[in-house]
Symmetry: none
Subunit: 222 residues, 2 copies
DNA sequence: GGTTTTTTGAACTCACCGTGAATTTTTTAA
DNA sequence: TTAAAAAATTCACGGTGAGTTCAAAAAACC
């Protein structure tokens, strides 16, 4: 999932955008002005920036120009002014999209997704895990055991995908519930057990790859 | 190097695009409305046209229609309106690409390059998908099932085209709505379902190629 | 104005998910 | 070594929500 850097001097806007980012399942960081934004882009690992134009210390345009000197991270500009100048100027200095205030958070999310999918176009490498017996194609969402495709339920897919992506790593029950079910899931402990069981059943011969770590969680050994 | 004709009634846009054309090493000319554009395409020696849709005197669509009577020069349409109609209509009357405003100059340059390299390849190489039972001709916009051409509605074409172009890839509902309907579509969730249903019905025997991925979206398996 | 196409809302179905209880396995303590 | 406790596995059942379908309204097109 994407990590979004939200840059705005208004606390209200930051809270609003961050809330919607969470809802979309994105993680985020915030910055209150242009200088802080540059700092964070340089030192932390963001996927996209949403930047207000009008800010103290260093305005959005200057910040973008600075960032473009060392990074081509996607940037979406936010501006209260609706004049064309802002828009054109924003693109000129290297922004990827522009959205006028007031904007609907939903629209912002759509634009983030659009910009990201455009950015991802280039690197459309088919992610696949294959060890001869088990094959997991993340992009096609196809899982085969010994050459035969198996049908999995949505939760089984997500659980398996997460475990395979983190293969060789001990995953606590809590971690699995958080990552696969979501942070707001307060469900029963048996839920995870049951889905592990179902997944093992679906995987047949390959069930053994999911090893139980008693008192801890599970690990995928491929 | 290419010579680009920039057609827009806004001075700002003309300046922006022309500046980027220079940076890419292209030469350019400008026109402020459709009539002027037709005039210049007829009398001067351009390689490609970037044309705004909304202009005084003669709008972009009409201008393209007129130009197509005597020239098949590549044309990229620019439009502030985000409606799908514009896009489809633009392609229908002979535009080679479509880009929604606000656009980033970077993206426009990419498209210009893409369109030109496409145009430079043999034009007779029409893009076609054909697996024996189903045939999808993207350029001619013809779909046949078992040798018999089938009539599809515009949305059905768009949906099928996108799915076939991305065959073998799991496409989320969100992705499909974004790409086929546009990222400003706030419609009902049932819209996609319904069009999938209509498309399956139209495809008859080949309906099975569209597989449902519960909790996720759809995938075209050709 | 009539026709086609798209969108919407509502009804329906069924696969799936989460839960609690029973069972088995493993660990700890006596 | 055995008994008790803890953790994991398994099972079966009820509610739910995602997808399908339909019909009718709305929009776009001629």
């Amino acid at each position: 999932m994407y990590k979004v850097l939200i840059v705005d001097d208004e606390q209200g806007i930051r809270d609003l955008v961050s809330k919607y980012c969470s809802l979309e399942g994105y993680t985020y960081g915030v910055a209150g002005d242009g200088l802080e934004a540059i700092e964070k882009v340089r030192n932390e690992d963001y996927d996209i920036v949403c930047m207000d134009v009008m800010m103290p210390e260093l305005d959005g345009f200057s910040a973008v120009r600075e960032i473009r000197k060392f990074s081509n991270i996607p940037i979406i500009m936010l501006s209260a002014r609706t004049e064309t100048y802002d828009k054109i100027h924003g693109f000129e200095i290297g922004a990827d999209d522009y959205i006028g205030k007031p904007f609907s958070p939903k629209e912002l999310m759509l634009r983030i997704n659009a910009v990201m999918s455009r950015a991802n176009m280039q690197k459309s490498v088919s992610e696949v895990f294959d060890n001869g017996r088990l094959r997991v194609d993340f992009t096609a969402r196809i899982v085969s055991v010994g050459g035969n495709a198996v049908d999995l339920s949505p939760k089984e897919y997500e659980l398996l995908f997460f475990m395979v992506k983190n293969r060789g790593i001990a995953l606590s029950r809590e971690k699995l519930l958080n990552e696969v079910w979501g942070y707001d899931f307060y469900g029963d402990d048996r839920t995870l057990d049951t889905h592990i069981k179902l997944l093992r059943k679906s995987l047949g011969d390959c069930a053994e790859y999911i090893v139980t770590l008693r008192g801890m969680g599970y690990r995928f050994d491929g």
